[in-house]
Amino acid sequence: MTKKITFSRRQVLAGASAAAVVGFPNIVRAQTREIFIGGPASPGLTDGLFPLIEKKLNVKVLYEGTNSLINLEKIRSNKARPTMTLTMMDDPVLILAEREKVIKKLPADVTNLADLPAGAKPRDAMWANWCQPMCSFSYNTQTVPKGLESYADAWDPKYKERIIIISMRITQAIAPLLAATQYVTKKPLDQCLPDWQQGIERMKQLKPNIIQVSTNAPQAQQLLETGECDLYMAPDSRTTLLRKSKGAPVDQGRPKEGILAMPAGIALVEGGPNQDIGIQFLNEMLSPDIQAYIGSTFFSKPTNSKTVLPADLKFPDLVSLDWEYFADNRNAMIERFEREVSAR
């Protein structure tokens, strides 16, 4: 006798649902308004800024924070099947991303671009700067109450083994190198970049004061806050002033030579999923409301000219650099820096 196999209606429905989830994940996922963004590991993004925009646009953001070069490497690896919709990186790394054609020009749908100065939408709006964090050095306000008047003060022997320098693999490391170059060349900070080789010589004289050359920004920040070191060269204001606002004994240095503008960019990944949501998200990041929030939460200069900041929040004029030159020479800088400054 042959046994007949029968299915109930419930079993058929359950089987079909399971097949849909297992076999056709794209169909199921397509129903959610969700984008994947890769960017810096800065505090305040996933726990402040993104929820605001998510609520406004009814989208879900999946975020991965790391440094810009690693972020770029991830996009390169997935170039055939991009998973990221948007990427948030420093300008020098976005220049590399543009050359490798992994990002695409921002479309006219990003209407807030009209209110950004030309300098904040580089290379004909291949990307936009969503803010300009200030970059100089940060100091412990308990051990160095008044900070430093000049970058050159950091070379004082009284700071022996009291300074943490960030690795040249991280863009902000350009600040101490340029300060060293400026000391040697006496040129304004914004003209020092091509002479960086001279700065390396001066950086070598800083070695007795350097306790560590770090690639781990949170650890370095923690050691500054606990007084294990006096100076940290150089996180940007996103970290330092945010921590200051939470009561940490740290402050952003305002040396007489000037403070660098770290252009924090946001771009659309070429071929990334849910581009329409990505465009809406990017446009919202550049809106005056969100820019005001960015200014007061990230302590970074907003880029939208229509942004109205609280009366007590003012930013100094910042020094802009030729990031293309930096991008072209970065490997050479890393190599010399690690051999001559980082090494024991």
């Binding site: 070069l69 690693i70 490497e73 083994e161 690795s167 693999r169 350097i210 306790i211 560590q212 050359v213 770090s214 690639t215 781990n216 650890q219 050691l223 606990t226 007084g227 294990e228 490997n331 890393i334 190599e335 690690e338 051999r339 980082s342 090494a343 024991r344």
Partner: protein, 295 residues
């Protein structure tokens, strides 16, 4: 059937098959497949990458890694890191494993927990914890001050002492476990017999205990050395770029400067060093172990 026919059948050789899988072979098959996919193929790709750059076949990566004093210094750093961590772990781990194997059952549970609980903590959390411990206001300085060894807090963070202390702390359980597993199988009557024949504790240890536990020692050395020579997170957090290791060069080459040839060449050099040390230690340990078994 006649007796002759029966004998002929019984003596007949089994038919040879070209390919035959017995049960143990089938059981090891998933492991082999996994290792081929997860290890052998990536290693082959790595080796291939180490012999090519943008222009095609090249030994430029090896020339750089083995011909540049800067990179030779980095290889030496890694070797030094692996050796000191292994020796330190062995010196602390061997007596610990001995004590563990001889401890009463209840105490053994407690000692096991003390040794192996740290393994359940993420290496990053553990290393951050160590860095906090070694700060000027950390517990280590507090202890040294209160015991009277120092009169003011000394700098411990980002020193080579901190690095080795942290590395040994992280890898010690990996040394204890294999030694303990061999030691607990050691028949106590053997050491008793040696003692009854007039051997002192040192001679008994040298002629009986040590040779018989050599397989565990070799396994521990192989494990600790091969992992510590490739350590990335702990040196990065405890000493930073001032003590560059081969792993840091690889990370830099792949993630920052995109010099895959350099990264792959350094990786192959590291692999060769690790494999050489592991095989050499096994080669030299085997005769000692054999002597122990002979008594």
């Amino acid at each position: 059937m006649t007796t002759i026919e029966m004998r002929t059948q019984a003596e007949a050789q089994p038919r040879r098959r070209f390919f035959q899988l017995d049960t143990p072979a089938i059981m090891v098959l998933p492991g082999i497949v996994f290792m081929v996919v997860a290890f052998a193929i990536p290693v082959l790709i790595l080796v291939a990458d180490s012999f090519r750059d943008a222009g095609g076949f090249s030994i430029g990566g090896y020339r750089k890694v083995l011909g540049d004093p800067y990179y030779i210094g980095i290889i030496w750093n890694s070797l030094q890191l692996g050796l000191i961590t292994t020796i330190g772990s062995l010196l602390i781990g061997y007596p610990a494993a001995f004590a563990l194997s001889r401890a009463p059952a209840r105490l053994q549970v407690l000692l096991f927990a003390l040794i192996f609980l740290p393994l359940t903590v993420s290496i990053i959390v553990k290393t951050f914890g160590l860095a906090i411990m070694m700060r000027r206001d950390g517990i280590l300085n507090w202890l040294l001050l209160n015991v009277g060894f120092i009169d003011r807090p000394m700098r411990l963070v980002f020193t080579e002492f901190a690095l080795y202390f942290g590395m040994i702390n992280v890898f010690l359980p990996l040394m204890i476990l294999p030694i303990y597993s061999v030691m607990r199988q050691l028949d106590p009557r053997l050491t008793d017999a040696a003692a009854s024949l007039g051997a002192g504790p040192v001679t008994t240890f040298r002629r009986v205990t040590l040779p018989l536990t050599m397989p565990g020692v070799v396994a521990g050395i192989s494990l600790v050395f091969s992992i510590s020579v490739a350590a990335y997170v702990t040196p990065g957090l405890l000493i930073g770029d001032r003590f560059m290791t081969m792993s840091q060069v690889m990370a830099k080459a792949y993630l920052n400067i995109r010099d895959f040839n350099l990264g792959a060449s350094m990786a192959v050099v590291m692999l060769v060093i690790a494999v050489t040390i592991v095989f050499t230690s096994t080669y030299f340990a085997e005769p000692a172990s054999r002597r122990g078994r002979k008594g």
